[in-house]
Assembly symmetry: D2
Homo-oligomer: 280 residues x 4
């Protein structure tokens, strides 16, 4: 989940909606293996205090974390991301929890690359010493983010949505090439989101076009409200505006737009939403 817009108390996103992320951590309705109990993480930006975002991660399940429950009603942020994890690659450790943070960027990944061990070392080879040693865990997600960052900072002086799009496309193309060279035929699922607190870029991507990618939705409005357990975006009527990008719908209403397969969803600093094909 990635929220950008009018500052919101994160409790409204984490706990109050019927299909909130914390509830998803117990029972994700649109996944085959419903449990996401292998840790969680949240990140939010506090531009009035510090340039880099706060990240808070834990290997204990989101639903029973005392600190998360205590924090959630008391944090208000304009940019907030949250992730629950079902371990696929890598142990259950804080180092493997999303979001991954590099300077002022946050990244989260839903999906995975089968047989990732076969290409891990090749993905690390081009990394700068700094990014090589920045990697703390074992996940495909963190390694792909390191590769993405290496390309991003090598090729772009300004970190704009277009720069992020370019780095994603390059990363996906490299991944496909490495997979082909190393006999990985299973589809890689790459629903990712990167934000710097000002804009957000999400991907709904699958290396094998025949296979259905994991879901990714967005919703926009003036504000996100929860009344009587029903949460929804309020239609724009004033200066407030907010956009939410999520792997699963938080509510059953019609306010969610499915991102098309192999497309980016870009939320610009003006909160304009663009849907752009992924060239990879």
């Amino acid at each position: 989940m990635a929220y950008l817009g009018t500052p919101i108390v994160i409790d409204k996103l984490l706990y109050q909606p019927k299909n909130s992320l914390v509830n998803q951590s117990i029972n994700a309705r649109e996944l085959e293996e419903p449990l996401n109990g292998d840790g969680f993480g949240i990140g939010w930006y506090v531009p009035e205090v510090y340039a880099e975002p706060v990240t808070f991660v834990s290997v204990s399940p989101a639903w029973s974390n005392r600190n998360l429950r205590n924090l959630a009603p008391k944090i208000r942020a304009h940019c907030f991301v949250a992730h629950v994890r079902a371990a696929s690659v890598g142990e259950v450790s804080e180092s493997n929890c999303h979001p991954f943070q590099y300077k002022n960027l946050l990244m989260m990944h839903n999906g995975g690359v089968e047989n990732f061990a076969r290409i891990k070392r090749k993905l690390r080879e081009p990394l700068s010493d700094e990014l090589y040693n920045w990697i703390k865990g074992q996940t495909d997600s963190e390694h792909l983010f390191a590769y993405f960052l290496n390309y991003l900072f090598d090729h772009h002086k300004t970190i704009s949505p277009e720069a992020v799009i370019d780095a994603f496309e390059h990363t996906f193309m490299t991944l496909k090439k490495l997979m082909a060279e190393n006999g990985i035929e299973e589809a890689a699922y790459l629903n990712m989101v990167v934000t710097n607190g000002l804009f957000t870029v999400g991907t709904r991507y699958n290396t094998s076009p025949g296979e259905p990618p994991l879901t990714l939705y967005h919703s926009e409005g003036s504000r996100y409200v929860v009344e009587d357990g029903i949460s929804q975006m309020v239609a724009p009527e004033d200066d407030d505006h907010a956009v939410l990008v999520v792997s699963e719908k938080l509510t059953d209403d019609a306010s969610w737009t499915l991102i098309p397969e192999n497309h980016f969803v870009v939320v610009d600093p003006t909160l304009t939403v663009r849907i752009i094909p992924i060239k990879a």
Copy 2:
């Protein structure tokens, strides 16, 4: 789950069966709320080294616990108990994890007492100072065990199955009385098991006979084997013998006997199984 009999490598009970306790911790098939991710605990006896059993508990889910996975194939015990917890009363903390240990006794509880807070202080009042201060957590389970122990050691010099039966019946009667006096009308579910490493007494009990109690089964044979993912008790053919008492069947075969409502299941030191009505 409580095992007594021919020494067994606990991995065979914890991980290998299709519906093993670790798998139950993800998806308990016979419960309404299927998740038991709020910690776990195991206990086993090592009479050749120490009079008191080993207990190992954790607030992290059983399925991702590195230490548990490493230990399980390497521990062989003749008496082994295991529990996964879905927090009802009490925080997720090690102090609230089952099994509870007092000297050489272990206790586990499946079920709960609604509105337990109303009677907690009354249940504590008759306790000896030692047992009053022995309580570390907030659960109904631990408080009931403390009350049980207080009565057991006050009234019995020898800890036999009969003494345990007497203490259980007294505890249940006191609980029903306190519930009635404090306006608790909801059924209390009290599937409990107590063992000293030599014998085991389990209860399948519900304070409101109309309501169905939680399930409790037993299975017996000469040995417990797992072959090609299928686990079962082998019919007695030699000196080996083993009895398993479980809240949920570990396999789909016919070897499981449901304990009748409001009955004890007693596994004697000779591994004889007795089914006895609970007078309470």
Copy 3:
């Protein structure tokens, strides 16, 4: 440590001073047993978002906690408390970590009551059902706070510094009476602090006047600054004002005033500091 005044980034208190609380957690210079590695907790008020403060606790040592290190430079608060724990009574669990929170009040305790188990049940007896069941852990600190709260809300409609002083004095008198009745002759050390985000009351108290109480200092100024590793209060020169109450000096300079034995230190909402004898 309890800070009240001009909003401060908590990193300046937790990590930057030479003898900061995190460094104290490794080596507390004025204690006989220097290690405080049995968990920590922080609390801060966010009046613009929520009436109750945030608390964040952990059983892992403060010095290695990834979340604490990430949070500290990004939280700015006008009222902030922090505590590191060396377990005396009670297990190492989140339930035993300070600060203890009840509604909008936070409490921390440095010290302890020897043989507390002898009087625990007597201290619980007068508690309302709500406060009786509110207790989650086993510490003398939490039980004394529950007793304090029970008296405070029974006898005071408005929670002022004077009401807190009255409740502290009553609590200490009751404790001394219970200790005498139960043969506890060792001195009880009761350096405690209670805050509601608007004012703070600290105690430096010892039940046996002959024995030296644990240290408690305060420092005040316009702002707290850290330059080149040297931290100090800046002398008042403008509207800013801040008061710090600590168990150990954060720096070696002369800006720390030792609270006299058996006295309160009261920091009023206007940030005026009063030193008042404890009548108990």
Copy 4:
């Protein structure tokens, strides 16, 4: 600490000696920075049940770990290792805790390589895919062990003390070469121990002969006893025999022999101790 010999209850090594490892975790007397609170690990062999040893690790300090305290009096083993960690390189995570286990081998390391990040990727390059992906954490220790294992299994069909010696010498030579090539001039401290449950090889090694290496001792006798808080090896008088290799003396008596600088200590399956110069 590495013990080999007559089966011993590990409590006698972990908790009972005055300067036991758990006490060392609070205050290691012979180190500049005395605290080892960043996790611990133990390993022991159970040849009657499983070919690979048990490892139990935790990121919480050894002194407050409830499971460790419960386990210690109830485990008896003929080969036991234990380690407490003060984080130098790598986060505080289970993946960074010693002992590291690969199949039936355990390895622990006391010391470190300054600026290890400069050579990490070069040390990984020659690794087999299996060992490359086997690495879970970020420590110099785990990477050096992976390099050691890669060489060991490439060059030796039988894992004997001589094979282990050869792999250590090759690893140290490679490390010195990489350090020189990458401008690392600080001494690397490499007190390591490897065991397979039958024999143990320890190193007391420093890449800069001028600098004093960290201490490493051994002690041998028929049995290890603790009486009235005093622990010692009993002189051989019967068939029992035991050897202990430790970084710090467990007691103040004269039974400890300091391993000379840049030497191996080899404990053979017959429990014979050999001191051999390290050629590297």
